[in-house]
């Protein structure tokens, strides 16, 4: 008897709650803006917060509302700004744009205790290692979000310039022309 009543009451509870959820979903649904979707799709998606927003979507929302400039995302750099400009049909002058310096995390092996905290926060799984073992950062996967820096108890994680190799070496931009040159 007890069993039956327990089952019945739990089932009713479940049904009622489910129905409430359905209603909530219907009435509280946020209309998604297609422009925001498109902007977000272009963004790096690491939710790193370097833009000052809690993640890529809020940043995209802010651009769509005109509350943030299209150069808002530091990891995206001028390449992303140019894509945004094309998408939004605006023209931008990037001649004075300073490309943000891209840094990646590096574990110094002397002080890493293998606590796994960095490993747990890294949004891209760029940190490899197991408990009580020295961790290392896979340079190709690190986005430079610095989340790991914040949680490391021994400050053994530091941001470094990525190593220049023959593969990623590039010609520098020529120095600007003398003053008075027509644009």
């Amino acid at each position: 008897m007890y069993v039956l009543s327990a089952i019945a009451s739990l089932a009713t509870l479940g049904l009622v709650l489910g129905w409430l959820l359905a209603i909530a979903a219907k009435y509280l649904k946020v209309e998604s803006n297609p422009i925001v979707e498109e902007l977000e799709a272009l963004m790096p998606g690491s939710q790193c917060g370097q833009c000052g927003f809690p993640g890529c979507r809020p940043a995209a929302q802010a651009i769509a509302n005109g509350e943030a400039p299209i150069t808002v995302c530091p990891p995206g750099g001028s390449a992303l700004a140019e894509q945004f400009a094309a998408l939004l049909g605006v023209s931008i002058d990037l001649s004075n744009f300073e490309e943000p310096e891209f840094l990646i995390a590096k574990v110094s092996e002397d002080t890493c205790t293998g606590c796994t905290r960095c490993f747990k926060v890294c949004p891209t799984d760029a940190i490899v290692g197991a408990a009580k073992q020295i961790h290392a950062v896979v340079a190709d996967a690190c986005t430079g979000c610095q989340k790991c820096i914040a949680v490391c108890p021994t400050e053994c994680l530091q941001m470094h310039k990525p190593e220049v190799t023959l593969r990623n070496w590039r010609w520098q931009k020529p120095l600007p022309e003398p003053v008075g040159a027509p644009a």
Binding site: V3, A6, T124, A141, L166, P182
Partner: protein, 494 residues
């Protein structure tokens, strides 16, 4: 009449001072003393680096395989002399950055003994596939500077049913005379190499194009080819960049390679004369590519000339041999002055691509200071690719790379003709090189960002899965508790 026809067939380009007289009449020297140490980079070609098959401490004979090719597009490297492998480690590459590259270090024993060589082979008894295989195994790459593995190109020719093989004897860059001398001295070997290539590509005919400022080379090649009806030797006007495949194809065959196509689309493939000679040595004499002719020239060179140099020789040793006045050397260039690379130091090895080493004095490199663009459009008429250098540079200057691509940036071959003619000394080609690198970096960044998204998704899925597992476990535990409790209750009731 001829000049009218020529002007139709040649687009853009410039006439830089050839500066070849210092070396064009000197025969190729074989007197260069064998260096005590050789530095052989594992990547001297387009494609994947070679993988070492020798170990530190091994004794190797000249021509012995040091590293085998990896993957479809790659090339092996061979020991340029006999001696001991002293290390396999990073060493600065002959590149404007002098960044390190994996390199085999060799201490030569001075004996220069070849490995056991097979007796000369009759190439025409071999199948076409076998020719490609052997050319590949000998480590032959494009010797004009492109360093594309020659065997891959032969296969490409066979697959695409190429109708004409073009041989570039243009050597349009100033100062360089290594191809000129090779044609004068080893025309028979080059022609033999061309015949072997035709056989390997199953192609009926070849045309050799030689600039009309090399009459001796032209005569020698014409004579060597006299018995072979399938090989035609022709003179082409002296014009930079005549060695660009599209330019030479247009001039010699009248065919226009489509803008987004390749030479093979019009049934043509181009190889360099020095590549033909390397193939002759590889197939006829079973000798892998271990040395090459290098032109050492420039105002600071006391005794300029062409020299047979083992791959891996330090450029600094060549400079000493040619009595280069180091204090007067304002710039060291590998390749020609138009498209070559300035090197920051001289302790870098000669590689398969090293056609020239130029020790240039201040007088030879001084251009006036940069001025504002006067919109004279000279850069536009000089561009062999029909581009608008001035507009592209302006767009790049204001960081609008995509819009520079829209007006043809990707078709730029970095020939430097535009910079050469610009009266305002604007470093146009530098902008294009910068932009090309930046675009490549962006593509990598794009790829990385896609990768990042994937990684994040995977991580989120994993976290979700773990959460779900935990929740399920909790639910199961709860259910078990409830069931147990109910059972207990029921027991009590009964």
């Amino acid at each position: 009449m001829i000049s009218l026809m020529q002007s139709f067939r040649i687009r853009g380009g410039v006439h830089p001072d050839p500066r070849k007289t210092a070396t064009t009449d000197l025969s190729i020297s074989s007197d260069f003393p064998l260096p005590k140490k050789l530095y052989i980079p594992l990547q001297q070609h387009v494609g994947k680096p070679a993988e070492p098959v020798v170990r530190v401490g091994d004794y190797v004979y000249k021509g012995q395989l040091l590293a085998h090719s990896q993957g479809m597009i790659s090339a092996p490297v061979h020991a340029p002399s006999s001696g001991i492998i002293s290390d396999i480690a990073d060493y600065p590459a002959p590149h404007p950055s002098a960044l390190p590259i994996r390199t085999v270090f060799m201490e030569t024993d001075g004996k220069d003994v070849w490995q056991l060589l097979k007796p000369p082979t009759d190439p025409f008894g071999l199948s076409a596939e076998e020719i490609s295989l052997r050319v590949g195994a000998a480590g032959v790459v494009g010797m004009g500077g492109a360093t594309f593995p020659a065997a891959v190109k032969l296969n490409l020719g066979r697959k695409n049913k190429i109708s004409t093989l073009l041989i570039n004897g243009g050597e349009c860059e100033p100062y360089l005379t290594c191809d000129d001398r090779l044609m004068q001295e080893s025309a028979d070997g080059i022609i033999d190499g061309i015949r072997i290539m035709l056989h390997g590509m199953e192609t009926p005919q070849a045309i050799v194009g030689i600039e009309d400022n090399k009459p001796a080379a032209f005569r020698a090649m014409k004579k060597a080819a006299a018995d072979f009806r399938q090989i035609e030797v022709r003179q082409v006007p002296t014009h930079y960049p005549m060695g660009w495949d599209r330019q030479l194809i247009r001039y010699l065959t009248g065919k226009e390679v489509p803008a987004d196509g390749r030479a093979t689309d019009v049934g043509v493939l181009m190889h360099n004369v020095a590549t033909a000679y390397a193939i002759h040595k590889a197939i006829r004499h079973n000798r892998p590519l271990v040395d090459r002719v290098v032109t050492i020239a420039g105002g600071a060179a006391g005794s300029p000339g062409n020299i047979w140099v083992p791959i891996g020789t330090l450029i600094s040793e060549l400079l000493d041999f040619c009595r280069v006045d180091r204090p007067r050397m304002a710039r060291l260039v590998m390749g020609g002055p138009m498209m070559g690379d300035a090197l920051p130091i001289a302790e870098l090895p000669v590689v398969k691509a090293t056609s020239g080493i130029l020790a240039l004095t201040q007088d030879e490199i001084t251009r006036g200071s940069e001025q504002a663009c006067i919109r004279c459009a000279r850069c536009i008429s000089a561009c062999p690719a029909g581009l608008l250098p001035v507009d592209m540079a302006n767009r790049i200057r204001s960081n609008q790379l995509e819009s520079a691509v829209d007006i043809g940036l990707k078709d730029c071959i970095s020939c430097g003709s535009c910079s050469y003619v610009c009266p305002s000394n604007i470093p146009l080609v530098h902008y294009f090189k910068y932009a090309a690198g930046e675009l490549a970096a962006r593509q990598q960044a794009q790829h990385k960002s896609e990768q990042t998204k994937k990684l994040i998704e995977e991580r989120n899925k994993r976290i979700e899965r773990i959460e779900k597992q935990k929740a399920e476990e909790a639910a199961r535990e709860l259910a078990a508790k409830v069931a147990k409790y109910s059972a207990d209750q029921a027991e009590q009731v009964l």
